[in-house]
Symmetry: C2
Subunit: 340 residues, 2 copies
């Protein structure tokens, strides 16, 4: 049997036959719980001799009003947009923001900061599989939320876009418009976003018996210049592609530059599609077809989950996946898939 | 006569007939001072019964390793570039970065944070005239450095680009290539950068007896959309301009979009020039002629001056102005001014 000090709201929920969320609402004195349920919860809590966890209570009261944010390279405009939205949302709640860039060992620094109580919690926008520190921090009870990139099996709140389905839509769009030679420019598989986009895109092509030719695939680092170099090498082939999917907009914008450099007309000679729908993708000068991630919704959910966790560290971790949308612009034929 | 506790390194410098920097080096036990000079300084310090300022000493030893950074709207890629460079430079020195956006009252929040010792010092990239809080903070001994935008008469370290000369070069370039109808899209004069660019540009045109026609001038908020709307209204005039100077790249990139929207060929029908040289201005797809601010140098100087001030709060405020360069690209005739 558990010692009294280890009784949690989950134990009470089991004993009372209600959800943990209900127990949490009752114990925190919030409304929206009917009288019978409330009585059941309080009776179960009494029977188990429940006392709120001292550390959890301390966490609730000793907040310093600073939230950490970890982004990847700020050279990717996507992360600037996450940062801007996080600033607006957290600033609107009178919370200060500390920012780390993963390029400078940001994850470790962020977790150190939680453990030294320099921040109340951290929102990661760029977590990768290779993060044993994340696992340890969660076991130690740190308040963490992952948005954008997720990590399989990590017991914390995670909010992402449906990257797999988004990339599937791109492959279907290419096939529907009879693109015959499909090129693919992608990045490191450490990021869940990239793994999911690759899987979705390649699966659809394979199922259609049109797998990517190895000579038309490039795996590069995430930068505008990398996208440009990769596209140049594809366009200089004897038999160049007639459509190229880049797994993020930064790479795709670099690919558009290579086309300008080589006098290749987009979309007449080759289509280019990105992923993210960063703000500049919709500029008339660039007009990039891409898959829209709902950045603002990811941020809102991430902040909401983090604040809820600070209020009640025992909430079960939640996972939210947002739908995405293919935005057709001038870098492809501008024809939508006809509704069937 | 000054009381002993008010004796500063400046008094010792005067008494010893050396610079304050030399006194500071000697008192802090650093090398690079010859034996005679060192003896003179120590003898003067003894004669004046100098004891290091207790508060200054405390500041030196009680640092928490966090530097605040205040940026303007992150929707302007210039501020993302400043932020990225500041992250790299400060991160490389094991300093954490707290970021505020002026849109959310960042200046006041930053100064509060200094006064509560939540940060050791603050680098402002977006200070404006309307900052009484800055003045108070400096009088209270806070460690502040202004980069990019400066504030006249503020007694703190300031690092900027030569905005006036940069804008003069643009006006001279237009005149040399016989642009007859010159348009001007600019923003709020609260920013020193914008005031200086306007002054430089308009002065040269007036001196050449070609002042801007009021109907060809637009003063707008700083956004891509504002630049786009302003350029649209100029291009829709019965007698549209044949060259337009925008006082920053964000406005100029918006102006390029309006030209695409209206089917106006750049540079054949109209030249467009920006200011800042943000990274994307050099992309082949955008290829914007602009004046380059040496962002990295501004950041390096700003960090260097701030760290020096943390080491020795008595250093006289310094002002550094970096030279700028006109980068000729496809949005203008691509012809340089011939050297005369």
């Amino acid at each position: 049997m558990k010692s009294k000090s280890n009784i949690t709201s989950h134990d009470i929920a089991r004993a009372a036959g209600v959800s943990q969320a209900t127990v949490s609402r009752v114990l925190r004195g919030l409304g929206n719980v009917n009288g019978d349920t409330k009585a059941k919860v309080l009776s179960a809590a009494k029977a188990l001799n429940y006392r709120p966890n001292a550390i959890a209570s301390a966490m609730r009261t000793s907040r310093i009003g600073v939230i950490g944010v970890v982004v990847a390279r700020l050279s990717n405009p996507l992360y600037t947009e996450f940062l801007r939205a996080l600033h607006e949302t957290l600033g609107g709640k009178n919370l200060r923001v500390v920012v780390w860039d993963t390029d400078g060992g940001g994850e470790v620094a962020a977790i150190d900061a939680i453990q030294q109580s320099l921040v109340d919690g951290v929102i990661f926008t760029a977590a990768t599989h290779k993060s044993p520190v994340l696992d340890e921090a969660i076991k130690a009870g740190s308040a963490l939320v992952l948005i954008n990139r997720t990590v399989d099996g990590l017991a914390c709140d995670q909010v992402s876009s449906d990257n797999t389905v988004g990339a599937q839509r791109v492959a279907e769009y290419f096939l529907h418009h009879e693109r015959r030679r499909i090129g693919f420019i992608t990045g490191s598989q450490e990021a869940s976003t990239i793994r999911d986009r690759e899987r979705g895109f390649l699966e659809v092509l394979e199922r259609a018996n049109s797998p990517i030719e190895p000579s038309l695939m490039r795996r590069v680092t995430f930068s505008h210049q990398s996208g440009r170099d990769a596209m140049r090498s594809l366009l200089e082939l004897a038999d160049p592609p007639d459509a190229v999917f880049c797994t993020n907009d930064l790479l795709a914008l670099g690919a558009l530059d290579a086309a300008v450099d080589l006098g290749c007309s987009i979309p007449e000679q080759c289509w280019v599609v990105g992923f993210d729908d960063v703000e500049m993708a919709s500029w008339s000068t660039l007009s990039l077809t891409t898959v829209r991630q709902p950045t603002a919704a990811l941020v809102e959910d991430g902040v909401r989950l983090l604040l809820a966790r600070l209020d009640d560290p025992e909430i079960e971790p939640r996972e939210i996946i947002h739908p995405v949308e293919l935005m057709i612009r001038n870098s492809t034929g501008r024809q939508r898939i006809k509704s069937s």
